[in-house]
Symmetry: C2
Subunit: 364 residues, 2 copies
Amino acid sequence: MAVTSHDVARLAGVAQPTVSRALRDAKGVSAATRRRVREAARSLGYVPSQAGRALSTRRSRKIGVISAELSNPFYPALLGPLHDALAGHGYRTVLFTDRGERPVELDPLLDGSLDGVVLTTSERTSSLPGELMARGVPFVMVNRTVDGIEADRCVAGNRVGAAAVAELLAHLGHRRVAAILGPESTSTGQERADGFRDALAHRGIDLPPARMVHGPFDPDTGRRGLIRLISTEAPPTAVFCGNDVIALGALNAAASLGIDIPQRLTIVGFDDIPMAVWEVFDLTTVRVDLPEMARSVAALLVERLATPDAPARSVVLEPRLIMRGTHGPPRRDEEDYESAGPLHQMQPRIVRADTEWGRDASRT
Amino acid sequence: MAVTSHDVARLAGVAQPTVSRALRDAKGVSAATRRRVREAARSLGYVPSQAGRALSTRRSRKIGVISAELSNPFYPALLGPLHDALAGHGYRTVLFTDRGERPVELDPLLDGSLDGVVLTTSERTSSLPGELMARGVPFVMVNRTVDGIEADRCVAGNRVGAAAVAELLAHLGHRRVAAILGPESTSTGQERADGFRDALAHRGIDLPPARMVHGPFDPDTGRRGLIRLISTEAPPTAVFCGNDVIALGALNAAASLGIDIPQRLTIVGFDDIPMAVWEVFDLTTVRVDLPEMARSVAALLVERLATPDAPARSVVLEPRLIMRGTHGPPRRDEEDYESAGPLHQMQPRIVRADTEWGRDASRT
DNA sequence: ACCTAAATTGCATACGTATGCGTGTCAACG
DNA sequence: CGTTGACACGCATACGTATGCAATTTAGGT
């Protein structure tokens, strides 16, 4: 049924290995032969079998990428650039979905059909990196890391970014501050929580457990979290969200509760996913340069493939506060009068984010 | 490096083919031997090589799925269920991205590494189906179809759905109606436009070219389209959007223009993607049952693989109007007085959509 | 105890490509 | 004119698994 290199060889009047060499532009083939072979291959519509090639070379030029459900918009935003970056190095991307329920299926990662793996969803105690190391499968961790694993990684400066948000809120004059955070079982959830709480404390602002909500990185965490926080006796005047997806959920809850943003409530996210710039959200957030992260990861992995025994490397991307429309000073009548001072007038210079980033992203 | 079936055979004291049979539960292996082999395989951590297996069986149990950029939320909404449905039949999904710029790379679809293909992005004149037929690669078209191709397909009743929207708008009393449509080069774009225009005409409502905008299925089409439509002399009181992604763009533009929805303007989408139910959108739209579509497609493809010569089948899913919060009667002072009648009082019974659908979808 | 049939296992080989190595050809050089 | 390379190409084989077929063992029946 399928046409093989033997068929091409027969038509071109050469041996099969010559076909293999000619079509790959390997040396040892005369220009005339090469031309004949190409012509024969073209006329037969020959396409080299990946299975045969992979078996022979023991390389697939495919990279497995473990992602969460694609309906979580953070992942498409990371995967698009990652796909392109890997393609730039000649690798194809194979997507694996981690639904969180049960651990990722291991066999497809170990059956030799992948040259390497990119982990984006690991929890801090995941055993996956250990398994991969044991089997000698090269891998890189992105965005999230795993406790006690010395391996290539590319992450955002989560503590620094969260601290910048704390600074912003303090400068704006907020004293009753809350947070809707991601799971403590993830490095991003943990680090952003720590960075935020520590920086607040440094400013003399308390973040009591009653004003911290934890949940998965999904909009419903933001919805429920905001409703819970807002229905307390002394509701917060500002809420930091563990990522943008949570923040969008919080904004939705605010909309359905009729809470004016930012007059009545400040909401800040983290990541700057493409939707953050949508007019209905206009979310103030911390930008993680996902295209840059993708490029870093691809580079790390490719170098790892070339030099398997090189020491592990770690890349940290510095995040950047993006001022949009969901932050502002607390309302006077909402302020915590005991500690109210001139602080709330110290509104920082508003740097409007360029609107190009992600504006067209749901198609680009 | 990697452990092969030969290694397992040596440890278990049997021949390699026996290992192959034992681990696949093939007949002709005694229970005792099977146990010994399993034990040996387990202790060595043996994972069968996909390349070897594919080469030998000439089947990969992989299905290629051609999708648009994942940042377009329609595709994750379709791909998630599709992935699950195929997995239910024992097939793994391999994702290919069609960026629209240049045609999809053909070789990876023909190199024998896929048992079948699902097409979701084809334009009406795409040559891809022809190529696949010529090479004998089984495939199914989903959502969109290609002109003149007799092949398995599963699509939504686009004309019917669009006509239902026209009916709704007419009943509400709208006379100045506009549409922001998808590309005429796609079957969905074309059919929804035709269905809408024809049903309006049947109601005596005109849809002049000046009130029709065409563009890619992305939010920016909705943004720009709405701005253009609204800034005309006699702006429409209702806008039908070619899909939800366009509608979300239109809603964003409305938000930034300060247009009250639905008091000032009715906006209706198509597809009912998970985000349509978000409170900030609360989009009235036409539901296409994507999980059902995914199941249909998987079934069609699996049966095609079993019986390659069976006649092509076509499945059409009937869409359903979902009433949410972006539709209403036209404002009195916005009405087209010449044709104003009691029609605008005939508001249909509002059937509130269940909010479960897609509520958690950005994580589910 | 013997014969037959069934069950179990091993042997040989196919799948399609890539590559080390040997052979043959031709040109350049002494 | 003989020698030495360089180059082009074919031969043989490896990669890991699956399968048809033969060989061997086991069970079953009289």
